[in-house]
């Protein structure tokens, strides 16, 4: 996916991932995008090699008394696409806050 073809929603998603938001619900909350946009976009980004996913360690989830989550992180290509997207949509940096607290 070339930077020129990144939609605003995908750019927001990449920005959210770069700011430390790691799973679907968290990304939905910070971007305000619906699940019908976020999940298919995450799958597409993963297929295109911009994002990679992994399961959280069971022990970590067990300690917090909740089911394990699937975390998404940017790959090197994803980081490049994110910087291109930030250049294309400069207001994105102001729209999305840095992740400060850990979600439940």
């Amino acid at each position: 996916m070339s930077p020129g073809r990144l939609s605003h929603s995908v750019a927001m998603l990449l920005k959210a991932l770069s700011l430390g938001y790691q799973f679907g619900f968290e990304i939905m909350e910070v971007t305000g995008l619906p699940s019908g946009t976020v999940y298919p976009a995450l799958r597409r980004l993963e297929r295109d090699g911009l994002v990679t996913s992994h399961w959280e360690a069971e022990e970590e989830a067990f300690e917090e008394q909740r089911p394990a989550r699937r975390y998404y992180v940017l790959t090197r290509a994803g980081k490049e696409a994110e910087s291109a997207a930030t250049k294309r949509y400069p207001l994105l940096s102001r729209l999305l806050p840095e992740k400060l607290v850990k979600t439940l």
Partner: protein, 287 residues
């Protein structure tokens, strides 16, 4: 998870329904991911209630996600397959037929044009063309001639191979015929009868290019599943051209076999060699 089934919110009731859409290899992971998200929804801010609007949005999200995964799986599994090849050719034929129908103005006129041009010219180009192509086609023996007893397919590999080749040639020729009609129709209005010569030239060109493409495309397919071979790998140094193996190997993505394409044809290798792999190799190819 303490909620009774009858009191589950709509999006949680949709989960198993949407899960059926997800390809089986990814279903368990997908359900687990969504269940973790729903758990968070139930426990955020100490409130377990989800508004109707949010529940509907999540239900739509579930379905959209599952549908995307299914479409992507279909896209990947049909990529390079015989069915996809025939479907694309058929679609092009239908588009050309549609344009010709619009140009003709009525079904009657369309049928008359097709019949007139087919029996009045195209058949005289197509029959010798197909005959020449088949007569000069290097008949390399198919290794997968016998019906695999473990396979649930009704037709043997050899029959499927021949049927696919025939269908592909038929559709390619039909496409060439219809395309030349679409192009020559407007030309006829401008230059009159001279357009017949241009149409004849196009038939010959499409016939030659189409048949060549159909036969070459067939050579690059797996003899078992008819999928396009991929992963070309260079094998052997050029110094072995005359005495030993030097060329390219293409593999079936499903692990059915390898196609050796010699750098130079020689008395020991007149045509590309298909080497069928034992089913035990398939573990190396599937993810």
């Amino acid at each position: 998870m303490s909620l009774r089934a009858g009191r589950l919110p709509i999006h949680e009731r949709m989960l198993p329904v949407a899960g059926r859409l997800v390809p089986s290899t990814r279903r368990v992971d997908w359900m687990r991911e969504w269940q973790a998200e729903f758990w968070l929804l139930r426990h955020r801010d100490g409130s377990s209630s989800v508004g109707l609007r949010e529940a509907l949005s999540l239900s739509y999200g579930l379905m959209a996600d599952a549908a995307w995964l299914r479409f992507d799986w279909v896209r990947l599994s049909s990529q390079g397959s015989a069915g996809a090849c025939l479907a694309v050719l058929l679609a092009y034929c239908l588009v050309c037929a549609g344009v010709e129908l619009v140009l003709a103005g009525s079904w009657h006129s369309f049928a008359r044009t097709i019949a007139g041009h087919f029996t009045g010219g195209f058949v005289f180009v197509a029959v010798p063309g197909v005959f020449a192509a088949v007569a000069t086609y290097p008949l390399r023996p198919l290794k997968c001639g016998d019906k695999d007893p473990r396979s649930a397919r009704m037709l043997s590999d050899r029959t499927r191979w021949s049927l696919f080749l025939s269908a592909k040639i038929g559709l390619t020729l039909t496409l060439g015929f219809l395309f030349s009609l679409v192009v020559s129709g407007p030309l006829r209005m401008v230059i009159g009868g001279k357009a017949d010569w241009i149409e004849l030239l196009m038939w010959v060109l499409f016939m030659t290019a189409g048949l060549r493409w159909a036969l070459l495309n067939q050579e690059q397919r797996c003899q078992k599943c008819l999928r396009m071979l991929s992963q070309p790998t260079r094998v052997g140094p050029p110094s072995r051209n005359f005495l030993d193996w030097s060329g390219t190997e293409l593999a079936c993505a499903e692990g059915h076999g390898l196609l050796h394409v010699a750098e130079m044809q020689g008395s020991w290798c007149w045509y590309d060699k298909w080497v069928e792999l034992d089913p035990t190799f398939q573990g190396l190819f599937t993810a």
